[in-house]
């Protein structure tokens, strides 16, 4: 095996195996009952049941759908708004305090209101995910615009760029290297929040699966849902990291 692949694949796998072994060992100590702390084998059996009858897929798709919609809405609003506020300094002064005021309020605090406004179903969950990813994205976009080298604006003036050209060919590409990590972080936050959001007003999703399994006292299913959340989280992160490979972004990592 090539040593790079060995390091990338084998070493992380080793850590997973070690944690699995520790888990097995702990379960066998019998500190908690098997019902309260299922062994890896019991969890695997439960995972098989959930996978075979399609429950796992159904709930994963439901969660991914909510995250996708809420997250895209956040990206769609936060980045253009951040670019506007980054450029328009009066607007920035005007809105900065209110943004900083709203930002630390946990999206979970909005749950009662979200349920009142949007009823039950997908919409309150999507709203919470939107809130969770909107503010980090907005703030880092504004910051990124603030930190664009002024030289680039002078070049734009020298070559008679229109406002639209300045946005499309200077501001947008200039902020990408710092917006991409923000995209990654806020996707992680969105995925964190979806589970909590699904514990309140819906009858599907991995968060619901956890709640429902707890009510049925099936801790093996609870653990399986947690494992699924972790695995999908890794995959989402992998996917979004591919954006860093874009050629016109690579200058930012210097």
């Amino acid at each position: 095996m090539e040593s790079g692949a060995y390091k990338r694949v084998f070493l992380p796998l080793l850590a997973f195996l070690a944690v699995g072994a520790l888990w097995e060992f702990w379960a066998n100590l019998g500190i908690w009952s098997a019902a309260a702390f299922p062994s890896p084998r019991a969890a695997a059996k439960g995972m098989w049941e959930l996978a075979v009858d399609g429950t796992l897929l159904k709930h994963s798709v439901a969660s991914l759908f909510r995250v996708t919609v809420g997250y895209y809405l956040a990206v769609l609003f936060a980045i253009p708004l951040g670019m506007i506020l980054g450029w328009w300094k009066v607007g920035q002064t005007l809105f900065n305090s209110i943004i900083q005021f709203l930002r630390p309020i946990s999206p979970l605090a909005w749950i009662p209101l979200a349920m009142l406004w949007f009823g039950i179903g997908d919409r309150p969950a999507i709203f919470l995910i939107f809130l969770a990813s909107f503010f980090p994205l907005l703030v880092s976009t504004i910051n990124a615009v603030n930190h664009i080298n002024t030289l680039y604006f002078q070049v734009a003036a020298n070559f008679k760029f229109t406002k639209l050209e300045t946005v499309a060919r200077v501001i947008f590409p200039a902020i990408l290297p710092s917006v991409l990590p923000a995209l990654r972080i806020s996707l992680g936050i969105a995925w964190l929040v979806v589970v909590a959001a699904e514990m309140i007003a819906v009858k599907s999703g991995l968060g619901y699966l956890i709640l429902d399994s707890r009510n049925a006292l099936r801790m093996d299913y609870v653990m399986d849902a947690m494992i699924a959340i972790g695995l999908i989280g890794i995959c989402l992160d992998r996917v979004i990291r591919q954006l860093n490979r874009l050629k016109f972004v690579s200058w930012g990592s210097l």
Partner: protein, 266 residues
């Protein structure tokens, strides 16, 4: 064309602390709140001339270049380029900045093509971009990004981007700062060759006396801030110049050094 006429140019900055008073509406400023930078500059730059503007660091020579190029506004006085008063930046006068100002998210090709983006005839545009990429010896690096190039190559790419629009006046504000000594010497040579070939008006800002002596058709020496013209000499010696053999040149060089307060130049 490329004739620059500077008349009675005066520039003062409002000091930062006083600027806050202006913002607060308390605009009663006193003499000490102003920082005079340029003091009554009159200068005529002839068409096709390579003028080196020399002066101590921070004397205001960059400010002068920025005013001529339209990036800053003078407190009083005016600048005319080919008889037209400068109102703001224009793609007829391209500024080559102190630090590389290539847009890092664009390839060399895209950077050089910036000034030609409105050309209707794309075939012609491609030819012209290629021509100037070749002129600055970057053939084969068209699709590299700036960070993949050496400092000297970055400067050359920026030079190509400036020249491709066929500007009336080229401003170069200490363009070789940050390059190693050898690359500096080579870039000097390239700019001299380019100038002999294209005969563009070049306003070249530097604090390197030997650089000015080696390059300029004319050297203008500024005093310390607020800048006034202290010395204005034409240099007729042909390129490449040799200080050791050219007694007239050596005389001018000594004089320039003396004007800048150095009496034992090596």
């Amino acid at each position: 064309m490329g004739h620059v006429l500077i008349e009675g140019l005066y520039k003062q900055f409002v000091e930062r602390r006083s600027a806050r008073r202006v913002l607060n509406g308390d605009v009663d400023l006193h003499a000490g709140d102003y920082l005079p930078v340029l003091d009554n500059i009159d200068l005529e730059i002839r068409n096709g001339e390579l003028v080196c503007i020399l002066g101590p660091s921070g004397c205001g020579k960059s400010t002068l270049a920025r005013i001529i190029a339209g990036f800053e506004v003078a407190t009083s006085g005016k600048v005319l380029i080919d008889g037209k008063e400068v109102q703001g930046p224009s793609s007829d006068n391209i500024f080559v900045f102190q630090h590389t100002a290539l847009l890092p998210w664009m390839t060399v090709w895209e950077n050089v093509a910036l000034g030609l983006r409105h050309m209707k005839d794309k075939q012609k545009m491609t030819e012209r971009v290629q021509e100037y990429v070749d002129v600055v010896n970057l053939t084969g690096f068209e699709h590299h990004y700036p960070h993949q190039l050496s400092g000297g190559m970055q400067r050359r790419a920026e030079l190509a981007r400036a020249l491709v629009v066929n500007p009336e006046v080229l401003f170069m504000d200490e363009p070789f700062a940050g390059l190693d000594f050898l690359t500096r010497l080579k870039m000097r040579e390239e700019v001299i060759n380019m100038h002999e070939f294209l005969r563009k008006t070049i306003v070249f800002i530097t604090h390197d006396i030997d650089e000015a002596m080696a390059m300029g058709d004319r050297v203008v020496v500024f005093t310390d801030r607020p800048a006034r013209v202290k010395l204005d000499v034409n240099i007729d010696s042909p390129h490449p110049r040799d200080f050791a053999c050219d007694t007239a040149l050596e005389g001018i060089r000594k004089e320039v050094y003396a004007e800048l307060g150095v009496h034992h130049a090596l």
